[in-house]
């Protein structure tokens, strides 16, 4: 795994059951915070048709894409069956309240 950790903000910067984006030169990464305060990061692109996952509704450890309602697992980036597809995942590290993100996809 990478050691290029970038500090992107604190847990409280992201609404619970919500997401925000980290804007990079090659596109957005969505950083999610679940109901249980777990943090996950995925490329902000739905495997279906590129919808911005950061705009979806977060439930459990999943996000429902705002465009056609595919559910994507935040843990694996995989679309929940019966849909098929995958969004790239990025490593996250939490230190205290701070969130660190690595830009090397898993």
């Amino acid at each position: 795994m990478s050691d290029n950790w970038i500090e992107v903000g604190t847990v409280n910067d992201i609404p619970r059951q919500g997401a925000r984006v980290v804007r990079g030169s090659d596109g957005d990464i969505a950083v999610f915070r679940t109901d249980k305060d777990e943090i996950f990061a995925l490329r902000d692109k739905c495997p279906h048709n590129g919808g911005p996952l950061s705009q979806g509704l977060v439930h459990d450890n999943k996000v429902a894409c705002p465009l056609h309602n595919w559910n994507i697992s935040l843990e694996t980036g995989m679309a929940v069956a019966p849909d098929e597809g995958c969004a790239a995942r990025y490593p996250i590290k939490i230190e205290g309240e701070k969130i660190f993100l690595s830009l090397t996809a898993i």
């Binding site: 992201i14 804007r23 990079g24 979806g56 439930h59 459990d60 705002p66």
Partner: protein
């Protein structure tokens, strides 16, 4: 150590229960299944098409060996259980092997009833229940000529038809004077009989079998009156008996079936039972829809969620004989309190009868064209008030000007495979049929999950259901008493709304906890509904859960397919001014808006804005006095008007002014679905008021009020509510009607389907006849509006929810 669950019976109900259990608690048990048949679980219903040569055995397997292996289920095929030892908690199989259990599920189905006439055990006498029976019948059909089917019910007729398709000459023998007397009235039964006769079946009615004659193999059948007919094959299809011997021998309380309570437990709380072998609230069932409902409840309790009750089912019947359309449901004989509505056209072979009590459908019988069957069945289940459509109801849904759901059934059968069924998700008929066949789908939800058809706007639901019925052939229609909100709860929308008020639940987590939600965090469906129900119930107290809103309502703009947003400012009553237009033009230029477009609701939309730009755009618009147009929400959208008396030579009242007043009254109000209004200055109706949720048509003497219309996929014209004489009254009635809709409709119901469900007379009762009630409704609306009428754009310009519009971090390079 995991607990052990043993299932007796590898059939439709038992395995459906396991499937449901694996969905909710995949790791709860070590599961072992014993099945007397040497096969994997298959779709018993489809034995009829197999017999008729339309399907093969492979086609109808539901769960293959791999499925059992994948789910770590031990399957003992061809091993019947002969004893249950409830003291030692174990079962004993015929070969002496044993298996202990912590919980036991009995799903032994039923046995065909064999009339004990002499000769009933001769070779060539079979029942119609399993693959083995079908194999025997197919074998006989390949070698012999004459078949006799005893029993003119559903099963008997399907057997007879299948054997005829296999080339046999078939006689159906029936004890009664009317076929399928438990499902059909006499008129429909006669039509069925004559069309089966036309196809080549022979019938002997009111014939009582006395003996089956033959040496080793059957040769003849003799009747009470002494007549005899040739037979090389006799199929007994005279009924089924719940298979309860095993349970009975183990001392479990049985009557006609194994007696279970609403949680599918027998008198021994470790022992559950589902399927045709059970007796629930005095009833036994012989169709799959109720069994699937039982399975769901049973799985829920096995998973120890402890919620959900089985409360009995309403069932409907279809005959799976290709080319014959027949549908029946409910109580079709009626009594002294019921009316019969009958339509009969013998030369076209069409017959339909509705049994009606107090304007609710109690029973349906249809023959010939049954495309409206599921519609009637829905009306019956939902206990919809039919007084408004009574005159035309027999002609079917297509003749009513339906309201954006159901209908259209008549199209599916004839549609080509590439016809698009779901416009939202671009799903064609061929895709859906393929998914139903290949993935063995039974329910609308299954089809939604696998194909996405009808999972978005939902207006194609009726078509998908029709397609399901058409493809599965049998009775697919699972009929819960009332549909639950979603998979996270068993409560219906109405129950949920009531519980929120009764138990004074004031937040989403509190509601989920108090009502035993199955998932801590719910799903998008229930969270959005809950947020609405709570804000409607507690307008002054509830704190909006923005994370439980769809993005559009969270961002106060419409997300477009490329992830950009549109902005549509409010223009009161459709009016604008040079200053406003100039501002819009400036903003459009400054932000390089790709498209400027006039909407159907008389507004101007700016399309293609980036999310970060929204607060800046709003700020500029606000300088010209604009507020949010709520074009993105389940909310009051627009009031459309014509110029009315001020300019138009026909105008009778100041429709524009009234429109502005109505918009000031109703803007920013959240509703179960979008809500649109219009005011036309005279009956020429240029503002199209009669296809709005609330429409006003001005007349010389005052104002005509109309409700429950919509444009869209399926246009529905409004129903006329009443006339009033002043603008103040229009406003009061409008507020009261909107509040009634807000308080009582289900989330995502537009006014049209809601109105059709509760009936126009109910609305009239609440709004016209009950003056105090109307005033109270209007007042509650005003209280809610006091809190709601804050411009969300202005708030956001001032910094509310800032996180929504700026990235968490920008990384350069």
């Amino acid at each position: 150590m995991k607990e052990k669950l043993v299932v007796i019976g590898n059939g439709m109900a038992g395995i459906r229960t396991i499937e449901e259990l694996l969905k909710v608690a995949p790791d709860a048990y070590d599961i072992t299944v014993f099945g007397a048949e040497p096969h994997c679980n298959y779709n018993r219903i489809m034995l009829s098409p197999v017999l008729a040569g339309e399907k093969t055995i492979e086609d109808i397997i539901l769960n293959d060996d791999q499925w059992y292996a994948d789910n770590h289920i031990t399957l003992h095929k061809g091993k019947a259980i002969k004893e249950i030892d409830r003291i030692k908690h174990k079962v004993v199989a015929e070969d002496g092997s044993e298996e202990s259990y912590d919980r036991l599920l009995i799903a032994t189905g039923s046995n065909p009833f064999i009339i004990p006439v002499p000769g009933h055990d001769l070779e060539g006498v079979v029942s119609f229940r399993d693959i083995h029976d079908v194999e025997q019948m197919l074998d006989a059909a390949s070698k012999h000529k004459h078949a006799v089917v005893i029993g003119g019910g559903l099963l008997g007729l399907e057997a007879a038809n299948g054997l005829m398709e296999q080339g046999m000459s078939v006689t159906v023998v029936h004890l009664m004077d009317s076929l399928m007397e438990r499902q059909l009235d006499h008129a429909a039964a006669e039509m069925l009989k004559s069309s089966l006769e036309e196809r080549g079946l022979n019938f002997l009615m009111q014939a009582q079998t006395e003996a089956i004659i033959g040496k080793e193999r059957v040769e003849k059948v003799r009747f009470k009156d002494g007549t005899e007919i040739y037979a090389d094959l006799v199929v007994m299809a005279v009924g089924i008996r719940p298979n309860i011997e095993l349970a009975k021998a183990a001392g479990i309380h049985c009557e006609r079936g194994i007696v279970v309570n609403d949680t599918m437990q027998t008198f021994d709380p470790r022992v559950y039972s589902v399927g045709e072998c059970v007796q629930h609230r005095g009833l036994t069932y012989g169709l799959v829809a109720p069994l699937f409902e039982m399975a769901k409840v049973c799985a829920n309790h096995l998973a120890k969620y402890g919620i959900g009750r089985y409360e009995g089912s309403v069932t409907s019947t279809k005959l799976k004989v290709t080319g014959i359309d027949l549908f029946s449901a409910g109580d079709f004989t009626g009594n002294e309190y019921t009316d019969e509505l009958v339509f009969q056209d013998a030369s076209r072979g069409v017959y339909r009868k509705l049994v009606v009590q107090d304007n609710r459908i109690k029973g349906v019988v249809m023959y010939g064209n049954t495309l409206d069957g599921s519609w009637y069945f829905d009306l019956m289940r939902d206990e919809t008030d039919i007084s408004e459509m009574r005159e035309n109801i027999l002609f079917g849904q297509a003749h009513l000007g339906d309201s954006g759901h159901g209908g259209e059934e008549s199209r599916v059968a004839a549609m080509p495979d590439d016809a698009e069924i779901c416009g939202c998700n671009g799903v064609c008929k061929g895709d859906i049929v393929k998914a139903i066949n290949e993935k063995k789908l039974f329910t609308l939800d299954d089809v939604r999950a696998h194909t996405k058809a009808s999972s978005s706007c939902g207006s194609c639901t009726g078509l998908v259901e029709a397609l399901l019925a058409h493809t599965v052939g049998g009775d697919h229609s699972v009929a819960p008493h009332l549909k639950p909100v979603c998979g996270c709860t068993d409560l219906s929308h109405d129950d949920l709304r009531k519980a929120i008020l009764d138990k004074e639940l004031k937040s989403i987590p509190a509601t989920m906890q108090a009502l035993n939600w199955k998932k801590d965090d719910g799903c998008p469906k229930c969270r959005m509904a809950l947020n609405y129900y709570l804000l409607c119930a507690w307008p002054t107290e509830y704190k909006d859960a923005s994370q439980s809103r769809f993005i559009n309502e969270r961002a106060h703009a419409n997300i477009q397919k490329d992830g950009t947003y549109s902005v549509i400012p409010r223009m009161w009553g459709g009016g604008t001014s040079p200053q406003e237009l100039r501002k819009i033009a400036d903003v459009a230029e400054k932000y390089k808006v790709k498209t400027v477009h006039v909407t159907g609701g008389q507004r101007i939309g700016l399309y293609g804005l980036k999310k970060e730009e929204l607060p800046k755009v709003w700020k500029e618009l606000e300088e010209a006095g604009f507020v949010s147009g709520h074009a993105y929400g389940k909310a009051m959208r627009t009031v459309k008007t014509c110029v009315g008396k001020e300019w138009c030579r026909f105008g009778t009242q100041d429709s524009t002014h009234l429109g502005v007043e109505l918009e000031k009254l109703t803007w920013a109000s959240w509703t179960p679905h979008k809500f649109k209004l219009a005011v036309s200055g005279c009956p020429r109706n240029c503002a199209e008021a009669t296809i709005k949720d609330f429409g006003v048509v001005c007349v010389d003497s005052g104002y005509e009020l109309h409700i429950g219309g919509n444009g869209g996929v399926k246009v529905r014209a409004t129903d006329y509510l009443c006339n009033v004489s002043t603008e103040e009254e229009v406003k009061e009635y409008c507020a009261a009607f909107m509040q009634l809709y807000r308080e009582e409709a289900h989330y995502l119901d537009r006014t049209a389907p809601w109105l059709e469900r509760v009936g126009l007379s109910y609305i009239k009762e609440r709004i016209l006849e009950d003056e105090d009630g109307r005033k109270a409704l209007a007042e509650r609306f005003l209280i809610a509006q006091k809190v709601a009428q804050v411009d969300p754009w202005k708030e956001r310009v001032e910094g509310v929810a800032e996180h929504e519009f700026v990235p968490l971090k920008e990384i350069s390079g």
